[in-house]
């Protein structure tokens, strides 16, 4: 009991693909839930077959899929076939939660509306995470992570000062959506514990993006102004930016928030004459003159590696850190110490690296790598649902288990 993960005994059916939905599944698996992803040869999760794959010619178990879906189980089931629908309903009956980031019409289109699901299991929890929500005039609009950033209001405020808006590298709207989806699942689980009632929680991914950049909205509300594109600049702090270091494309981020820290920075840099310039004497002046200030600081950082700058500045109590690339990040001593990245041996793809949920807890479940397509068919159809071997063979032949 002492070391039981929070969601031990909870069964989740996942109709998910790409990133936002699957990452929900991965985190739920970290929390100890049994997550069963329903897949079909009719339309494979694009992360199994496109984007990044190890050996593309070796089929649907080589993709980026393995990073996101670790710990999750997989069954293949064709829900367009009546027998397929019948089987999924049997699985719903013995499950607690259903998650999906498919388009709003997907589940109802198969005959799995919330009303129908409630009839099968009255206290079922359904969490839907479509791009724009399951209701409203644009509910059927299509999206990618990059377009959601744009519609959510993030892109207009993102870019270099005086330049055009740019797209983020990592497309955070997906994992933001996942986390809000998880808020929905866990809130509903808590609510059901108290009241016995299930729920349909619907989350709009674009609203998730907007929820994390309130400064952008409030500047418009309060001052009729769109927050300008600021690069690495801050509203008040200076120096506050990214400075070139020794080597190719190596940078260090430095942020100074008080005069005391400014003097500490000057000391670390050896108190060059330019530090005493009245242009940099106080925070306001430093902000006004930050372009010049940044050039001068760059003149100093250039002679050091980004690690050296970080160490010197952190020793003096100043916020500084390298702009890590993925290789540096994985090999960083702190990152290694925290056990964030985990090397796994995937049965089809071989060596894979995954990351755990962003918190350290003694209760995080130890899970296997991401599933091969339909890997858990026998477990779910035979063990959980009691379907006979003979019937399973027939279902495979008739492309129901497909």
């Amino acid at each position: 009991m002492m070391s039981t993960p929070a969601l031990k005994g909870i069964r989740v059916i996942a109709f998910t693909w790409v990133w936002a939905g699957p990452w929900m599944g991965g985190v739920l698996a970290d929390m100890g839930a049994e997550v069963i992803k329903v897949e079909t040869m009719q339309r494979l999760d694009s992360q199994r077959v496109v984007k990044i794959t190890k050996n593309p010619e070796q089929g649907p178990n080589q993709g980026q899929f393995n990073v996101t879906n670790r710990g999750v189980k997989s069954i293949t089931l064709n829900l367009k076939q009546p027998k397929g629908l019948e089987i999924i309903k049997k699985l719903v009956k013995i499950s607690n939660v259903i998650i999906t980031n498919f388009a709003p019409r997907a589940l109802p289109g198969w005959g799995l509306s919330y009303d129908t699901l409630k009839e099968i299991k009255p206290d079922i929890i359904l969490v839907t995470l479509p791009a724009f929500g399951s209701t409203g005039p644009d509910k059927d609009y299509l999206s990618y992570g990059s377009t959601l950033e744009a519609v959510g209001g993030l892109s207009a405020s993102f870019g270099y000062p005086g330049e055009v808006p740019v797209i983020s590298g990592p497309y955070p709207s997906d994992p933001i959506g996942s986390m809000y989806g998880l808020v929905g699942v866990l809130a509903a689980l808590n609510y059901r514990k108290k009241t016995g009632k299930g729920q349909h929680v619907d989350i709009a991914q674009n609203e998730g993006v907007t929820s994390l950049i309130p400064e952008v909205i409030m500047d418009e509300v309060m001052n009729r102004r769109t927050r300008p594109r600021m690069g690495n600049r801050d509203d008040i702090m200076a120096p506050h930016g990214c400075y070139p270091c020794k080597g190719h494309d190596k940078w260090v981020a430095i942020a100074v928030d008080t005069d005391k820290k400014w003097h500490a920075l000057c000391r670390v840099m050896g108190n060059p004459d330019w530090c005493k310039d009245i242009k940099f004497a106080d925070q306001y002046s430093r902000w006004q003159n930050q372009d010049e200030l940044n050039k001068l600081i760059a003149g100093w950082t250039r002679d050091f590696t980004h690690y050296e700058v970080m160490r010197q500045l952190q020793k003096a109590g100043i916020a500084a850190g390298p702009s890590f690339n993925i290789e540096e990040l994985i090999n960083d001593p702190h990152v290694k110490n925290r056990g964030i990245f985990i090397e796994q041996q995937h049965p089809a793809a071989g060596k894979t690296i995954v990351y755990r949920s962003p918190w350290k807890s003694a209760l995080t479940a130890k899970n296997p790598p991401a599933p091969c397509l339909g890997e858990n068919n026998n477990y779910v159809f035979k063990e959980l649902l009691g379907i006979s071997d003979r019937e399973i063979t027939e279902l495979i032949e008739t492309k129901v288990i497909y």
Binding site: S146, S211, P214, D219, N223, T226, F324, I326, I353
Partner: protein
């Protein structure tokens, strides 16, 4: 609150700026009672953060503070004073959750490490959010949004077409501070569920760096599978997404599947150049982007964001308008889902805020209450619950305890 989900759950929040307050906001939005503890002299540091109403700074004028702290009770308390520490213990004794984002060293000095908090209240869930976690070589390092963005590996891959002589940049505002708070809320909700099932508590060690890392899905896969170190100008990764100028702003175009490109060609009225061999598929279009871009822009500059967005989506093209804050506030889809809320508050009057991106089918949505004025609920809590008299309150105030 927005939804009465966590009725009866008591939270004590002790922190500053964004990550802990946002974590606690999510709990408060779901109906938990959140008592926010602020420094008596200056309050939460976000009170001093822009945007301010009419650009006039003031403890009660910050839009950021008011968004983060709606639905909470606010008290002032200085836990350094002996009696302050005693009051803190009393508050923790009857709490279910304790959310904080203070440096580990500071919590140790205050006698508020989990080891001690556990003795006051063994079943408490203590959510501790820090830039690098409670353990590891960087645990006492200084950080902020800028440093997190870069040391978490996102800055390095923030897209840059062509020229990398300029520094890598962070995403707008404080997206990663917020994302850490959101991740912490997910972990906390899971622990609350476990607490209700087992009566057991725990400490959740949430690291902002790790929260940033969860955005690196693609980067990890590329590295794990092929040793590729993703960089800002990684055209192959970014090729299908582009922000292009249009008549009154910008749009974000996305063509991952061939069919999407072909449909967009139809939206553009099938211009002759679209039949050019150079643009025949994904790889070619990426290779010859410099030739393709001006041709597309010639078309987009003729139409507004809204026109291009609607026409594209009508033809199932996953394009997004790069919305300004003003356009986000006017968005019909968000209006239909009643995403934005108006809150009336002393000093600043009625303002529009982002609401919550989730809807619960079986629970009535309620109106949120405004963020507390500094010390607004001192009397309610100290006198009403802890048994102090109003004269005690004055003495405590004079002594700098509250």
């Amino acid at each position: 609150m927005f939804y009465k989900v966590l009725d009866g759950v008591k939270v004590v929040e002790f922190g500053n700026f964004i990550s802990a307050p946002f974590c606690a906001k999510i709990l408060a939005d779901l109906g938990a009672e959140v008592i926010k503890i602020e420094d008596p002299r200056c309050g939460d540091s976000s009170r001093r953060a822009a945007p301010f109403l009419h650009d006039i700074p003031g403890l009660e004028n910050s839009g950021l503070f008011q968004y983060l702290n709606m639905n909470k009770l606010g008290i002032t308390l200085n836990p350094v004073a002996a009696i302050g520490a005693e009051i803190f213990s009393v508050l923790l004794k009857s709490a279910d959750v304790f959310v904080e984002n203070n440096p580990p060293k500071q919590m140790k000095q205050l006698g508020l490490t989990y080891r001690f908090v556990k003795e006051i209240n063994p079943r408490i869930v203590m959510t501790s959010i820090t830039p690098f976690g409670q353990t590891g070589p960087y645990k006492d390092f200084q950080s902020c949004e800028l440093v997190s963005a870069h040391i978490g590996g996102v800055g390095y891959i923030s897209m840059r077409e062509g020229d990398i002589s300029k520094e890598p940049i962070k995403l707008p505002a404080h997206l990663f501070n917020f994302q850490a708070g959101l991740s912490a809320a997910v972990a906390t909700l899971s622990s609350i569920f476990r607490q209700s099932n087992t009566g057991l508590g725990e400490q959740l060690d949430v690291s902002e760096q790790e929260s940033v890392i969860q955005n690196l899905n693609s980067s990890i896969a590329r590295y794990a599978y092929g040793g590729q170190i993703m960089a800002r100008t990684d055209a192959a990764g970014h090729a299908p997404f582009h922000i292009l100028p249009c008549k009154d702003g910008f749009i974000c175009a996305a063509f991952v599947e061939e069919a999407e490109w072909r449909r967009f060609v139809e939206v553009m009225g099938h211009p002759e150049w679209a039949d050019n061999e150079l643009f025949k598929d994904f790889a070619s279009r990426a290779k010859y982007w410099d030739a393709l871009k001006p041709l597309m822009v010639e078309w987009t500059m003729q139409y507004t964001e809204e026109e291009i967005y609607r026409r594209s989506q009508e033809k199932a093209v996953p394009l997004g308008a790069v919305r300004t804050a003003h356009q986000v506030l006017e968005d019909k889809q968000m209006a239909a889902r009643q995403f934005f809320v108006d809150i009336e508050r002393e000093n600043t009057g009625k303002l529009t805020f982002p609401g919550v991106p989730y809807r619960f089918s079986e629970i009535q949505k309620e109106a949120p209450s405004p963020a507390p004025l500094l010390g607004q609920h001192n009397e309610d809590i100290y006198c009403g619950r802890l048994g102090y008299t109003k004269r005690d309150l004055n003495r405590l105030k004079e002594a700098g305890v509250i």
